[in-house]
């Protein structure tokens, strides 16, 4: 289990007059073994924070610490063995011409594992697919099954922190329930720390202990989930977000 701390994170795109500040001085802490949610409207910078942590955005400043160790701009293999990400759309994040076996064994090989064959099967069992799915291609899988493969790939290096970028927003509600249950099980089983981005407050409410609410690149409030359930946020924007997501008709 590892803790994650983000201090004064800034992310920007473009230069000069075209510069857009996507994230402005965001700070939050995720306790070791905790589950932390980032919510906000699209364009509020929540996914950008995850991308900055994994190193998918080169233009960032501030401090990202994992268990007290600074994350350097150039991330090594050890970093990716510790931290992995699951992306929003399983239709886009899996290579259409790579079978499930190729996807998983390549990841395992890159991380220097030797017993690849047994590990692929174990990963597939972990995510509830089983060995029968091993030689299938993404187009032979449903959306939920694809997301399970994407989760298996993220689990392959045995990470301690998992970043989840809207893991269920492309899925049906019934499949969403299965994937969220799977994620909760995996979290207890593998002692994972979660950082989860979602625009769905009830999903975050189900999965997370603490939530950061974002607006226009800034974290406007960090609050515990109990406080959110009682509908007693301190910030007016959080209140507004809670109101609209619980009640469409009145908005």
């Amino acid at each position: 289990m590892k803790s994650l701390s983000v201090r004064n994170l800034n992310v920007w795109f473009g230069e000069g007059p075209d510069r857009v500040d996507a994230v402005k001085a965001a700070s939050f802490d995720v306790a070791s073994g905790g589950s932390f949610g980032l919510v906000g409207e699209s364009g509020s910078g929540k996914s950008t924070i995850l991308r900055a942590i994994t190193g998918l955005v080169p233009t960032w400043s501030g401090d990202i610490e994992i268990d007290g160790d600074h994350v350097l701009p150039k991330r090594g293999r050890a970093f990716y063995k510790m931290l992995q990400m699951v992306f929003q759309d399983p239709y886009a994040s899996l290579h259409p011409r790579h079978s499930v076996d190729q996807v998983l064994s390549e990841t395992l090989q890159l991380h220097g594992f030797k017993d690849i064959d047994t590990r692929v099967n174990r990963l597939l069992d972990d995510v509830g697919l089983g060995a029968a799915f091993r030689f299938r291609y993404p187009h032979q899988l449903s959306g939920g099954q694809r997301q399970r493969v994407a989760i298996a790939r993220a689990l392959a290096p045995e990470p301690e922190i998992l970043l989840l970028d809207e893991p269920t927003s492309a899925l049906d509600v019934s499949v969403q329930a299965e994937i969220l249950n799977l994620l909760s099980d995996l979290r207890t089983e593998h002692k994972l720390t979660f950082v989860m981005v979602s625009h769905d407050l009830s999903v975050v409410g189900h999965m997370c202990d603490n939530v950061a609410v974002m607006r226009d690149g800034e974290v406007v409030e960090v609050l515990g989930i109990e406080k959110m359930r009682r509908m007693e946020p301190d910030n007016a924007y959080t209140k507004h977000l809670l109101d609209v997501s619980l009640n469409y008709a009145s908005s």
Binding site: D172, V173, V175, N181, L201, R229, L241, V244, A249
Partner: protein
């Protein structure tokens, strides 16, 4: 008279392994109301919407006992007759404005083109009407938006532009296929509010296709629940939470809720029996 009556509608696609039935004999009517169609992906809800406008391409086939628009049969209408129906009498708003707006035309040109297709009007009049419509869907700066290209507007605004474009010919029926799924909750509220107002002010019928049960329960008057190409249940929207069919209940229970936290969500267990049950009629 009902705005629309559909009886025993089938949508079939021949495949290498036999004919696949996407919609299997459903019947429903639409009055001056907000009719919701909910179901999972693959349940045939979008196909139903497309079949009404005959937007299923060959080799796909539409079969039905009848599809009547205000008592007049639409089934077997020629392409020319269908073109007169599409847009001016029945309009459709698709899921993602990114894919339904032309990326290389300004928003204004697209709305003006749509308007002049349906009405004899000068460019100037069409432009004035376009601005009026954009104002009707609460776009604050219509002059600027008219000059903008689709990539320069946000998703919520794009969807409002689509709705504006669909409303110009004053259709009697609007089919909205997941109109708010690509939008944020706060923008979603605005778009729904606009559609609601248009339905009430103009006495339109709305077919609202969505996978979001809570949304449909709050927004619609009557709901059809579809599973595997059939209607498994028809109920009043405000009674959706008392739905009887195990599939509807399963869908409702699988939603996480802020006010009722639980450790595990209930995954839906599908009964093969549901596929075989006869389709429930949604005729009025």
């Amino acid at each position: 008279m009902n705005l629309l009556d559909v009886e025993d509608l089938w949508v079939r696609f021949p495949t290498s392994s036999g004919v696949f039935d996407a919609v299997r004999g459903i019947s429903f009517s639409l009055g001056r109301e907000r009719l919701g169609i909910v179901g999972e992906s693959g349940s045939g809800k979008s196909m139903t919407g497309r079949a009404i406008l005959q937007l299923i391409r060959p080799p796909g086939r539409i079969e039905a006992k009848r599809i009547d628009l205000q008592g007049k049969p639409l089934l077997n209408a020629s392409d020319k007759e269908m073109r007169a129906v599409r847009g001016s009498r029945i309009s459709m708003v698709m899921q993602d404005p990114k894919f339904s707006l032309n990326p290389v035309m300004t928003v204004g040109d697209q709305i003006i083109e749509a308007y002049r297709l349906h009405n004899k009007a000068s460019r100037r009049d069409a432009r004035a009407r376009a601005i009026e419509m954009l104002e009707a869907v609460s776009i604050r700066n219509p002059e600027r938006v008219l000059r903008a290209y689709p990539h320069e507007v946000s998703g919520g605004m794009g969807q409002r532009i689509m709705i504006a474009m669909m409303m110009i010919p004053n259709p009697q029926i609007l089919i909205a296929d997941e109109p708010t799924s690509a939008l944020d909750v706060s923008v979603q509220g605005q778009v729904l509010g606009i559609m609601n107002q248009l339905v009430q002010d103009r006495g339109m019928g709305l077919i609202f296709i969505s996978h979001d049960l809570n949304l449909v329960a709050e927004f619609c008057d009557r709901v059809l629940i579809m599973y595997a190409g059939r209607i498994v249940e028809v109920c009043e929207a405000d009674k959706l939470h008392e739905a009887k069919h195990p599939y509807t209940q399963g869908l409702l229970n699988s939603l996480p809720r802020l006010d009722e936290p639980k450790d595990r969500l209930e995954a839906l267990v599908r009964d093969p029996e549901w596929r075989q049950q006869p389709s429930v009629s949604g005729l009025l």
